[in-house]
Amino acid sequence: MDIFSIVFYLFAVIIVVSAAIVVMSKNIMYSAFSLLFTFFGVAGIYVLLNADFIAVTQIMIYIGGILILIIFGVMLTSRITGVDIKSGTTGKVQIAFAGVISLVIAITLIFLFANTKWFTSELKPHQSTIEDIGKELLTNYLLAFEVASVLLLIAIIGAAFIARRKS
């Protein structure tokens, strides 16, 4: 096994194990914290694929932004109000139902994975991807870029409006 595969499997194990903890842990704080390692593992895979910019944005946005907000939410709800949020046990019917759905999704994904023609580039990896990403975003994908930014702006204004309405 070459070094590339070793590193890949290392990150893969981190992602799968921490993702399993996210789903299975009964303590919601452990779930939220375990998600941190899932995001880190994914960022590691991006680095391995020479997508340095995406890897860093993954850390900045998901770990530095979104996950912090999730942990904030958990911290403020589960301890201050005095009620521990823990996921309870579910009935057998629900487990069977969920199991069937998961199985179907898993089979579909494996089927798709096996039948897709994966595109492998013959080009050498770029020294830096940032320049290309910047140029593409402001030329070929300008519309998508602007639409996304307007959408985010609407979300910010909406959030501020909802938060201020009471006073």
Partner: protein, 348 residues
């Protein structure tokens, strides 16, 4: 076999840099804080352990190691243990991308003076790690199961998230001028004193300076540990070396923030005058040593500034802090990006 040598080289560099940080940034930082605060308040300061009390920080760390390590009964033990490790670990990891001197050429091999100073997303890596640093403080506050700790943790995460924005936007001005995200390139462009970024980016520098005070939780923005209202803030329930790790991390962070400011705005390891004037050759070991000392001196000046501010400026109120961050610094940072962009467009 190549990869093993690369790893070994990185490992040796990491050990050297780690020792440097813990010894100089943390230990000397603590000593300097106590001595300078004493000087400002007309006291003598530590003067018993070693010459001028220089060994005081080591005595302090030894004392902290010997102390009993208490974990409150109601605390979440796992997170209580992890939190200081995250805080100190993240504070130290930033040094992976910091260049300490120019490249040195020995034979026909070129050595970088740093672990990965050429990383082409260097400055983004620093920002990403800073945003992860919030976790240590948040988790410490939450896991202690103590109202004061929780409030301290919440305050600090809200503060760090808010000031990260203006910090990132203030940086954009430098990036526009340098045209690169690699710290080595940014420093390379500032080879003499009149090409230092602080001359082109005075507003950006001031914004970055204020934001770094908030990011490192130093006075006047040390709301997370405001003693009169919060007892001790997020680290109230910590004792022994775990408290020591938070303490060391604070000084390591201060040194990091100083190093980043020096690299971005004050030419990093570059000398104020061209190296040729001193008769030193590019790529020689003697030049690298001079550059390294020059870099350390600049960092020390900034650390002194951090300490000076702490002992002269009173603490902000929490609403003032948030108002300053969102209503003053953020619009100014946006203005700075606009002005820089227009300036570059006209000059091109």
């Amino acid at each position: 076999m190549d990869i093993i040598w690369t790893l070994l080289e990185a490992l040796i560099k990491a050990v050297v840099i780690l020792t440097l940080i813990l010894l100089f940034a943390a230990a000397l930082g603590v000593w300097a804080e106590r001595k300078i605060s004493a000087w400002i308040q007309n006291r003598i300061g530590p003067n018993r352990v070693g010459p001028f009390g220089l060994l005081q920080p080591f005595a302090d760390v030894f004392k902290l190691f010997m102390k009993e390590d208490l974990i409150p009964k109601a605390a979440d033990k796992t997170f209580h243990r992890i939190a200081p490790i995250i805080t100190l670990g993240i504070a130290i990891s930033v040094y992976a991308v910091i260049p300490f001197a120019g490249d040195v050429q020995i034979g026909d091999k070129v050595y970088h003076m740093g672990i990965a100073p050429d990383l082409n997303i260097g400055i983004l890596f620093v920002l990403a790690l800073t945003s992860v640093g919030v976790y240590g403080i948040t988790l410490a506050g939450w896991s202690s199961n103590n109202k004061y700790s929780l409030l301290g943790g919440l305050r600090s995460s809200a503060q760090m998230i808010s000031y990260e924005l203006s910090m990132g936007l203030a940086l954009v001005g430098v990036l526009l001028i340098a045209g690169s995200l690699s710290l080595n390139d940014i420093v390379g462009k500032q080879d003499v004193i009149w090409r230092w970024n602080v001359i082109f980016q005075p507003l950006g520098f001031i914004l970055f300076l204020v934001s770094s005070f908030a990011e490192t939780n130093r006075t006047p923005f040390d709301l997370p540990e405001a003693e009169p209202e919060l007892v001790g803030g997020y680290n109230t329930e910590y004792s022994g070396m775990k408290f020591g790790m938070f303490f060391l991390a604070e000084y390591a962070n201060m040194a990091t923030a100083s190093a980043i400011m020096v690299l971005l705005y004050f030419g990093g390891w570059q000398l104020p005058i061209p190296a040729e004037w001193l008769g030193l050759q590019q790529g020689s070991i003697s030049l690298a040593i001079v550059q390294f000392l020059n870099f350390m001196l600049k960092i020390a000046l900034f650390v002194f500034f951090f300490i000076w501010v702490r002992w002269t400026v009173p603490r902000f109120r929490y609403d003032q802090l948030m108002n300053l961050g969102w209503k003053v610094l953020l619009p100014l940072a946006l203005l700075n990006v606009l002005l820089t962009a227009i300036g570059i467009w006209i000059l091109k």
